[in-house]
């Protein structure tokens, strides 16, 4: 069986430390997959591998049957993979609309973009996006002055502007209030189906709300996979989490 | 055979001067990430201090060395406290700021004592030559070689075996964490910069009897020293030594077969290619990105 996004026995090591060690993961199109695990399980590295930030030393990564692991980051992005980083990464010196304009990347060539000026037709749509994530009051300000929560939202908005088929989210709700987290959950549920999402999170209540299937990583490999109930009942998962006070305390 | 030896010693002599200038630069760059374009001016100030002490105080070069080290080190400390410490977050801007400081020092010297060439006398005990394995060698150059070896050993000892060196290495790895453990990172940085500057001053004083002293003499040294540091890899003292010897011998060899211009161009091109393919330096193993 082949899935839409597939990691086959992927491994990578840094100076002998195997951060991801024989990870196999299959995600179907339109699915929202949650990726959890104790600290140091290799979740972020798994996302790094998919988006090309880290190249695997072993194994292969396929999107719709097309191998990604030998491509450069921008080629992987063009293939349809978008990424939100754990530490929110936006363009601090650019304004919110400018950030969105950069993220809106239908054309990626130098000369194709040379004749496009920032006030194009699309900018209206982009501003609706800024409104949607509650940044309509900060349109004139450089992104560097936004609060942590707002920066999180901006990066999510950047991904919506980019509109990739696969969205990788690394701890999207970190630093958000309970209200904002709920809003994020709603958004994710809407994105599901149209996009394929992989979400790395620690907040179990958030995961319970959005997830269908959870994949648990431990020490660089896949430990378990299943619904929330399956995972909560799984003794191996409980053992892996024991040091950090059980799954809900992670 | 004698010819090969002669070539080898010429190269070694070039290498020891290269290392002398590069050592301070390597510490400042490796430890603080500061590209110090004013390094050449520290060298120049060391040479001028030697000249001034000889001319106005009548002090011989050898006893002057101690004074020179402290004079230039204090100046370096003032520079670090006054300017550089504000720029640790903006490494590219340190290039600009240190270059501006270099211009200030150069012009200040030019205005104070004029732009003409000055000469420093070689200490008479060292101004003869000796024969070694059938090769004529200048005693002064042997002396420089010895001083460089001693300074290198001292630096290595300071970095690896003393508490201040340990604190410095802690600050290099994680400044905030080190500060949490009560290490005064500011003081460490100030002292490191001062030490690097002092070494440059010594370098200037030591080469002053071999070359004429002028306000712009530092520029050539700083370029060569940079090559040594880049080639050796930052944060690697042993790499700095290896690359100084390599570059010294190479320059000596190429200069013998070709003219100086070609030698220099080739060396620069080699550096460019090196940075392209091994930005971490020749003698440093790759670390986690």
């Amino acid at each position: 069986m082949t899935g839409y996004l597939e990691l086959r026995d992927v491994a990578v090591s840094f100076n002998g430390f195997r951060a991801v060690d024989g990870l196999s993961l299959t995600v179907e199109k339109g699915e929202l997959r949650c990726l959890i695990g104790p600290n140091g399980a290799g979740k972020t590295t798994a996302l790094d591998l998919i988006c090309g930030k880290v190249k695997p030393t072993h194994g292969s990564i396929l999107l719709n049957g097309r191998p990604l692991d030998r491509l450069e980051e921008h080629e992987i992005a063009r293939a349809g993979i978008g990424r939100k980083f754990q530490i929110p990464s936006v363009f601090k010196e650019l304004t919110v609309p400018q950030n969105l304009e950069v993220a809106y990347c239908r054309k990626t060539g130098v000369f194709a973009n040379l004749l496009r000026f920032a006030r194009s037709v699309e900018s209206d749509g982009l501003e609706k996006l800024a409104e949607m994530v509650g940044l309509e009051d900060c349109l004139d300000a450089p992104a560097g002055i936004l609060s942590h929560g707002q920066t999180q939202w901006l990066e999510i908005a950047l991904l919506l502007a980019q509109d990739p088929q696969v969205i990788l989210m690394d701890e999207p709700t970190a630093g958000m209030t309970a209200h904002e987290t709920r809003k994020t959950a709603e958004l994710f549920k809407r994105l599901k189906g149209r996009h394929t999402l992989i979400v790395v999170e620690h907040d179990m209540s958030f995961i319970k709300e959005i997830s269908d299937i959870i994949s648990v990583m431990h020490q660089g490999r896949l430990l378990a996979e299943g619904t929330v109930q399956d995972i909560e009942r799984n003794p191996e998962v409980r053992e892996a989490y024991l040091g950090s006070g059980g799954i809900t305390g992670a | 055979m004698e010819f090969v030896l002669q070539q080898f010693f010429t190269g070694l002599s070039i290498a020891s001067i290269l290392l002398l200038v590069a050592l301070g630069l390597s510490i400042i760059y490796g430890a603080m990430g500061v590209i110090n374009l004013a390094h050449g001016e520290f060298v120049m100030l060391g040479a001028y201090t030697a000249w001034a002490l000889q001319k106005f105080v009548g002090l011989n070069l050898l006893p002057s060395l101690v004074v020179i080290f402290f004079v230039v080190a204090i100046l370096g400390w003032i520079m670090e406290r006054g300017v550089i410490r504000f720029l640790y977050e903006r490494p590219l801007d340190t290039i600009l700021a240190t270059w501006g400081l270099g211009v200030i020092m150069q012009q200040a010297v030019r205005l104070a004592v004029g732009g003409e060439l000055r000469y420093v006398e070689m200490p008479s005990v060292l101004s003869h030559s000796t024969s070694f394995l059938g090769v004529e060698l200048s005693v002064y150059r042997i002396f420089i070689f010895a001083v460089v070896t001693a300074l290198f050993a001292l630096t290595w000892y300071l970095m690896q075996r003393t508490s201040i060196g340990m604190k410095l290495r802690a600050v290099i790895q994680n400044r905030d964490m080190a500060a949490c453990f009560g290490i005064n990172a500011d003081r460490i940085y100030g002292l490191t910069f001062a030490y690097g500057a002092g070494l440059a001053g010594l370098a200037g004083a030591l080469v002053s009897p071999l070359k004429s002293v002028s306000p712009e003499m530092g520029t050539t040294y700083v370029v060569d020293a940079f090559m040594v540091v880049v080639l050796g890899g930052v944060e690697s003292l042993l790499g700095t030594v290896a690359s100084a010897v390599l570059l010294g011998e190479l320059t000596g060899a190429i200069a013998y077969v070709q003219n100086d211009t070609v030698a220099k161009s080739l060396a620069l091109l080699a550096i460019v290619v090196l940075i392209r393919f091994r930005p971490q330096g020749l003698f440093v193993s790759k670390v986690r990105a």
């Binding site: 930030k53 450069e72 921008h74 080629e75 992005a77 990464s89 936006v90 363009f91 601090k92 010196e93 650019l94 304004t95 609309p97 400018q98 304009e101 950069v102 990347c105 990626t108 130098v110 000369f111 973009n113 040379l114 496009r116 920032a118 006030r119 900018s123 501003e127 409104e131 309509e136 900060c138 349109l139 004139d140 300000a141 450089p142 002055i145 936004l146 609060s147 707002q150 | 590209i35 300017v83 720029l87 903006r90 590219l92 700021a97 501006g100 400081l101 270099g102 211009v103 200030i104 012009q107 030019r110 940079f226 211009t261 070609v262 161009s265 620069l268 091109l269 550096i271 460019v272 392209r276």
Partner: protein
């Protein structure tokens, strides 16, 4: 998520600011054009034309450094190559007068060169020379950029490599005296003649030529920075790695910025030969190249106009003080101090200072409007300039 009816009005200031910017740029260019009307002194016009040319050069650096974060310490390389291309063409026009029809440029005769080198021959054609003055620097920039940026070399290393490239070419030009005039450069040139118009260095014609080219280059560069490519360049300056994950090939954009900057610098170099009436290795020397960085930083690296005016201001002052050597030395000392102060306190240069002042005077409405919005955002907006500077 309350939809605000007037949310689109927030876009108006951005649009208006672009128009204000264009008007200011236009006004400065107009003022430059008006100088010969009030000043009937060919000697001074020539002097001012030189400052303007250096202004174009600094503006070119602003495009790559200020907008794309590429600190090119070898900016004078493109400038010098452009200058030599023009000088070669103008030198060949003197051959019939100096050494007779079918002869060689005089310095080659003195160096016992028997035959015109192959790379000199095409410069008999002025269109070729004009083309080469842009194409040679661009080609070199693309090659160097491809070599450097494909490997993701950034920051300090780019600065070192660009400086090294400059020194290598400079050394070669000085060394190859037989073909390049060596240390003396290429002197004793003919006057440029295009479409029947003569451009005497000491005439308003040359001044107008420089002013026209300056205007065209300035607005072309402005158009680049206002395009989406320009926006992506700024995003790369800000956070290079993030840009990749949107599917842009960062190396391509950097090479483009590097090459566009080289093209403008090459054009400036050609003009410099015309107004100086010679080409010299000092045009691609390290001192000039580093000076460009100073001008750019003082004027404001993130402002094309600021960088240009910075160059004109600094070189103008330098020119005024160059009568006495002590004055000049003191001036260089002061410049060093000013430069350090600018790097420390005004990372955006004088242009940034002006911008902050203007925003404080006229920006009240915008700040007030923003303050009614989210408290987290409103709180900070009044300090935008300062915050952004700290982030930079």
């Amino acid at each position: 998520m309350v939809a605000r009816i007037d949310s689109t009005s927030d876009r108006v200031p951005v649009l208006r600011r672009t128009w204000v910017q264009i008007s200011i740029y236009g006004a400065v260019c107009l003022a430059i054009f008006l100088v010969p009307v009030v000043l009937d002194n060919d000697f001074l016009l020539n002097k001012y034309a030189r400052y303007l040319v250096l202004g174009i050069l600094a503006m070119a650096l602003s495009l790559s450094w200020g907008y794309c974060g590429i600190l090119n310490l070898g900016q004078a390389l493109s400038f010098g190559l452009g200058s030599y291309c023009m000088a070669m063409a103008l030198k060949l026009r003197t051959v019939p007068v100096h050494t007779g029809e079918g002869g060689l440029p005089d310095f080659m005769v003195w160096n016992n060169v028997q035959e015109l080198p192959w790379f000199w021959a095409p410069f008999y054609s002025m269109p070729f020379a004009l083309f080469a003055g842009i194409a040679v620097p661009v080609l070199l920039a693309v090659l160097l950029g491809w070599f450097v940026f494909r490997a993701r070399i950034t920051g300090v290393y780019v600065a070192i490599i660009s400086l090294a490239a400059l020194v290598v070419v400079n050394l070669l030009i000085i060394d190859q005296q037989r073909y390049t005039g060596g240390f003396n450069g290429i002197t004793d040139l003919a006057q440029l003649e295009i479409l029947g118009m003569e451009f005497d260095a000491y005439s308003s014609a040359s001044y107008y030529l420089v002013a026209t080219v300056l205007t065209v280059c300035l607005f072309a560069a402005l158009a680049i920075t206002k395009s989406k490519t320009g926006l992506i360049m700024q995003a790369i300056r800000d956070h290079e790695d993030r840009v990749r994950y949107f599917g842009y090939d960062v190396a391509h954009f950097k090479i483009f910025a590097f090459a566009a900057s080289a093209a403008i610098a090459g054009i400036a170099g050609m003009l410099y030969t015309i107004v100086m009436e010679f080409a010299s290795p000092t045009f691609l020397g390290v001192p000039l190249s580093l000076s460009v960085v100073i001008w750019c930083a003082v004027g404001g690296r993130q402002s094309l106009l600021g960088a240009m005016l910075g160059a004109i201001l600094v070189t103008g002052m330098q020119g005024a003080l160059s009568e006495s050597e002590t004055f000049l030395d003191t001036w260089m000392l002061v410049m060093g101090g000013v430069f350090v102060a600018v790097v420390l306190f005004l990372p955006k240069g004088l242009a940034g200072l002006v911008e902050t002042i203007v925003e404080h005077l006229f920006g009240q409405g915008r700040a007030a409007r923003a303050a009614t919005g989210k408290p987290a955002a409103g709180k900070d907006v009044s300090g935008t300039g300062k915050k952004a500077e700290e982030a930079a």
